[in-house]
Symmetry: C2
Subunit: 253 residues, 2 copies
DNA sequence: CGACTGATTGAGTTTCCTCAAGAACTGTGG
DNA sequence: CCACAGTTCTTGAGGAAACTCAATCAGTCG
């Protein structure tokens, strides 16, 4: 797969560098000058690929790095003493995970690959060093952290809905929006997570989610085939969201 | 209230300074040297008191500062187009709010005082200036942000519980833990928020919360009198949490 | 003192959960 | 390539928990 070119290291570096990454504008490099970008590049370790089901970090482990999804997807979750778990989020390319570990130097949740996933690792000690030297990077890091916090707020808004159908509709619509950000077709969703994960994320049981998919398919809103979901009627889906799907739509300037 | 002393400004400053604040160890000053503390002090604007029901900032407003609760309490919430809202959190002294505004330079939620509340305002432009000069402050800011994120994860774990009683138990226990951090009696809770706010926060309706309070009082676990709640049997309360109340109890080293 | 807001309690209904069986897809090995 | 086991998902029937509607009670504030 990886042929030996005359200057293999440079090519390798170039291909993986933050500057050439497709996620450039979503990730930490956004708004950073080329000189400073090299500093950032030096701190990014490439973690290669995680196979489906493999954990990136586990709850309780000591914290030493932040991670950015490069391709594929992750789920993050907490396990309680009783053994039951709560899915906290699904993470698509360009999204950061591991921030929760900063406050106590231990990861407070686990992160697991939902499919074959590649990751950029940002050792925190080094990252701190660079943010100290590059104020723009500090600001961008805070922006990205803030974005994750807003995503969690959206999760709560969804969990707060009484009607199960609203929750699923908001979930699907949110996913479509994130697909669009990644320049994917927002109407053609490939759900990398199981029905169990979706249900847990939404605060429901698997059977309810399954029934809702069937109901929404019968209503002509979706076409559902296991992990392949097509949004046929975005207008009707938006209606099901009960005006709560886009709580942050209005940015009054 | 504020008598004229020979050097009024110094006294005033001393009383309000981060160094003398009781929340010192919970807040941004933690682990900062005295010299750097003066730099931080200079950026902190005192917002004085907000009366009950007054908003600190409103969803959609442009972002320009972070805020720390000094005394009293806040609730943060999002309003959807339909008019219904979701309570995202209750904020006690030492806790930071406003981080969600960083990602788009607009506040993505609103914050309102639940009682007479005093606030420290940290204009973000100035704060950034200081964090650039004081690496320890940058690290501490990230820690505090991370702590807020962990708090949101706890909220989700609670919302994910099916049983309404578990949710309320986890809520009360979490509040007790935060009271303890503030050196208050963790068994004597004074709930500054309404039953409606509690219910909304838990993803329930007011009547259910009210019934649960009554049921837990009948079971001898609590004594409830409006906003005054005493935890009579912490052991039974912990039992109701269903082993999910303290998901982060184990920090395996 | 009376209107008002906030909280409690009751009765009835709906939604979603539980339990259970069956169908469809995945992957492995012959 | 097919058979088979294992997993994941779907669908059904029944019941329980929480919601809705409604009335009452208690504090609060003018």
């Amino acid at each position: 797969m990886m042929e030996n070119s005359p200057i293999p290291i440079d090519l390798d570096h170039l291909r993986r560098s933050c500057g050439s990454c497709a996620l450039h504008e979503l990730c930490l490099p956004a708004g950073i000058g080329t000189d400073d970008l090299e500093l950032l590049d030096a701190t990014v370790h490439d973690k290669r690929a995680l196979d489906r089901g493999k954990t990136l970090f586990r709850q309780g482990e000591s914290f030493h790095a932040l991670y950015v999804v490069r391709s594929g997807s992750l789920k993050s979750f907490v396990e309680s003493a009783g053994g039951d778990l709560q899915v906290l989020g699904f993470h698509l390319p360009g999204e950061i995970v591991g921030i929760d570990g900063l406050t106590s130097d231990h990861h407070m949740c686990s992160a697991e690959a939902l499919e074959r996933t590649s990751i950029c690792e940002l050792p925190y000690a080094q990252l701190q060093h660079v943010t100290g030297a590059v104020p723009a990077l500090h600001r961008q890091l805070m922006r990205v952290v803030s974005r994750e916090m807003v995503a969690e707020h959206e999760h709560m808004v969804m969990m707060g809905r009484q009607q199960a159908q609203e929750r699923l509709a908001i979930f699907l619509q949110g996913l479509a929006v994130r697909y669009a950000r990644l320049s994917r077709d927002p109407a053609t969703l490939t759900l990398p997570m199981s029905r169990y994960d979706i249900a847990n994320y939404l605060g429901l049981v698997m059977e309810t989610v399954s029934r809702l998919f069937s109901r929404m398919e019968a209503a002509g809103i979706l076409s559902v085939n296991r992990k392949a979901v097509r949004i046929l009627r975005p207008d009707l889906l938006a209606e099901l969201c009960g005006q709560s799907g886009t709580p942050y739509a209005d940015h009054a300037d």
